[in-house]
Symmetry: C2
Subunit: 406 residues, 2 copies
């Protein structure tokens, strides 16, 4: 597997067109992604009982097992809590795209992200769709525009793409995502769109996405809020003429690994761009009895407001970390825990087998003043581990979310 | 039932002595509470698997059903994550108090709150205990000192006391508590000590405390963190010569109501003094199918960082409230939800049966700029309701917790 350029258009047979439709002020806010061939689709959606209209629409398409031809997304308005009109607007978006592309409505996925509770400006949206379709293009620049068009308070757009070989055929997997508040385990205010030109067996793709989400998007947290619009969609159009990838097929493990890589890197980019985040925290829990224990402990630590505020203050406050591990509902022995902080400035162990280690506060500050901090917590002699990613809690987070109706 | 002065010493037969033992800088940081008669005790403790040494000690006393004579508490150091020495120090604190008061160690409850992971300064503690015992006194001033001595980052001390009549006998229930970060459902970084001179049947008292905690301390949140030291202790010494209060006894309902009142008011004071809190938010959920659904929905809304930041910004961002209700794991129909904000400046309904109501933004700002905001969410036509209390998320919260190793 190697990293390549191209984002969501890295894979063969995909094009995109993006415009500033006027939903946001003078910024790209709409994109249409088109597959030249019918694409198998898999999806993962918010667990929130309050789901935006487009989430219901996409969930239905995924569950029905339809192949799709296109995806339309807008930023600036989430079309959430918009009642019956919201549902009609989503259907209309799919219908307009389908008509322009000679497809059926149920072959068009729809995503919206942005403010909740405000009806979509459908005139702008419909005009925007027309402009997007007129601009469909497979270039690097087009992929970049598409990634920019789905952003809300994101400060940079997020693209990842890789190439690998499966039974001699080159296949590509690429994607784009947006954050950046309401980010929490169980999916986030987050859209993530992945394309691949591999041939993939539909049920296998859905199953693979399910297990991938658990170790990527579900292991990140910005603020503990799980949004109404979280959506991950994967389109596999077979344009590489690869074998049909399925469980047990030669090369399947490499595909699954590359697939997880793309999702995990996008998830990490979302955290790196968390609202107001100044630091990127990677928390590794090892020695757990079960994988789920390891996940629970890691997520609980990176989700704690007090832990996050301590990182903001570059404070080696391991007591808060241990405390957050303790209320994770996972089973472990506090007396067995060893905690180490690592950054480019060095490594410092602050707790060993449950006992505090005297440490040099000024050295600890130096380690924790870095932008990227790794925390390792060994919780016992079990064999299971997990990694979670989070960020610090800053004045800027409070400012953004006190000011901005998102 | 009427409100009276006296806090934790309002009930007959209790005395306290408090000193600045030097654990904190020049502030009251130790208190000994003494009951002239053996007192029945009930307790509720943190659910965190990482429990401070004194929590294990008190839990053992409560579970063994011993009567107690005294309680010793220090602030400035939580004696948490302190290993075997922490356990020995707790035992020693109990032994020193017991010896001075002519009691047994297992008749002395021990509580610590403050920084995690640092051994107790036992010389100061032992000297402090001696000074506290020498000062034992039942006055109003002594109660106030005792409430001050358990504070950490609290900006005011918290006392509540009431008087009621049960079968012609006057009985009193009073208490004191401390917050003020790590406050979340499942108990908080919080100590709450309640005394009563009622005669209370021990098993009934424990059961009553269990149900009381659910609707008081477990319905407040400051920051989503559940600490290692959370403890609620109730001492009933029978000094009023009341009948033995038990299920079915005449006056039991009045007692239970007063008991819940004292705990709930202390819980609300903790939120009012939440770290950095500028606003007090009361969230009432009604029309739920089950009581537990109502509790889950109310707690989820007041615990959301995004909801809290919106209150900081006086932003009528009901979308975030609905979103947080949606990930509460409770069952309700989003299309049935009506949301109303109320403050001293007025009332404004922003969502009615799931549909957004156009509202005057400047009027909404006026309503939400007040210090006390009530949110009412009607979630259906069920009969169950619950109230949760929280606060806003402020720059000050980030500052306190970025700076202070607590």
């Amino acid at each position: 597997m190697k990293l390549i350029d191209g984002g969501v258009l890295a894979a063969k047979g995909f094009k995109a067109g993006s415009v500033a439709a006027g939903i946001k002020k003078k910024k790209l806010d709409m994109t249409v992604l088109f597959s030249e061939y019918p694409a198998v689709v898999a999806g993962a959606f918010t667990t929130n009982v309050v789901k935006a209209a487009p989430v219901w629409w996409d969930k239905h398409i995924v569950e029905a097992g339809h192949c799709v031809r296109a995806l339309v997304a807008n930023s600036g308005n989430a079309n959430a809590c918009t009642g019956e009109k919201g549902t009609q607007d989503t259907q209309r978006m799919a219908a307009v795209v389908a008509e322009l592309l000679g497809a059926e409505s149920h072959e068009v996925l729809v995503c919206s992200t942005g403010v909740i509770g405000v009806p979509l400006p459908m005139e702008k949206i419909e005009a925007g769709i027309g402009s997007c379709v007129a601009k469909l293009d497979g270039s690097l620049a087009s992929a970049k525009d598409s990634a920019a068009a789905i952003c809300t308070t994101d400060t940079f757009s997020k693209e990842v793409s890789v190439e690998l070989s499966v039974q001699g055929k080159t296949i590509r997997i690429g994607g784009m995502a947006k954050g950046s508040g309401m980010i929490h385990p169980d999916m986030a205010t987050m859209l993530s769109f992945i394309t691949t030109d591999a041939n993939v067996e539909p049920a296998y793709l859905q199953k693979l996405l399910g297990s991938t989400v658990v170790d990527s998007y579900n292991m990140i947290s910005v603020d503990g809020d799980t949004s109404t619009n979280d959506t991950v969609l994967v389109l596999a159009n077979g344009a590489s003429n690869s074998v049909v990838i399925n469980a047990g097929v030669e090369g399947e493990e490499e595909f699954a690994e590359a697939f997880l890589y793309v999702h995990t890197e996008l998830a990490k980019l979302i955290v790196l761009d968390g609202e107001g985040a100044g630091k990127f925290i990677e928390m590794t829990v090892s020695g757990a009895k079960t994988k789920e224990d390891a996940r629970l402990i890691a997520r609980s630590a990176i989700s704690s407001s007090l832990v996050k505020a301590a990182f903001f203050g570059a404070d080696a406050n391991w007591g808060r970390i241990l405390c957050a591990m303790g209320y994770s509902k996972a089973s472990f022995d506090p007396e067995a825990v060893t905690v180490t902080y690592t950054s480019d400035a060095g490594t410092i162990t602050v707790l060993e087998h449950g006992s505090p280690i005297a440490f040099d506060e000024s050295y600890a500050k130096k380690v924790l003043r870095e932008k990227v901090i790794r925390v390792q917590a060994q919780v016992g002699d079990g064999t299971e581990s997990a990694i979670a990613w989070g960020c610090d809690l800053t004045y800027e987070y409070v400012r953004i979310n006190g000011d901005y109706r998102s």
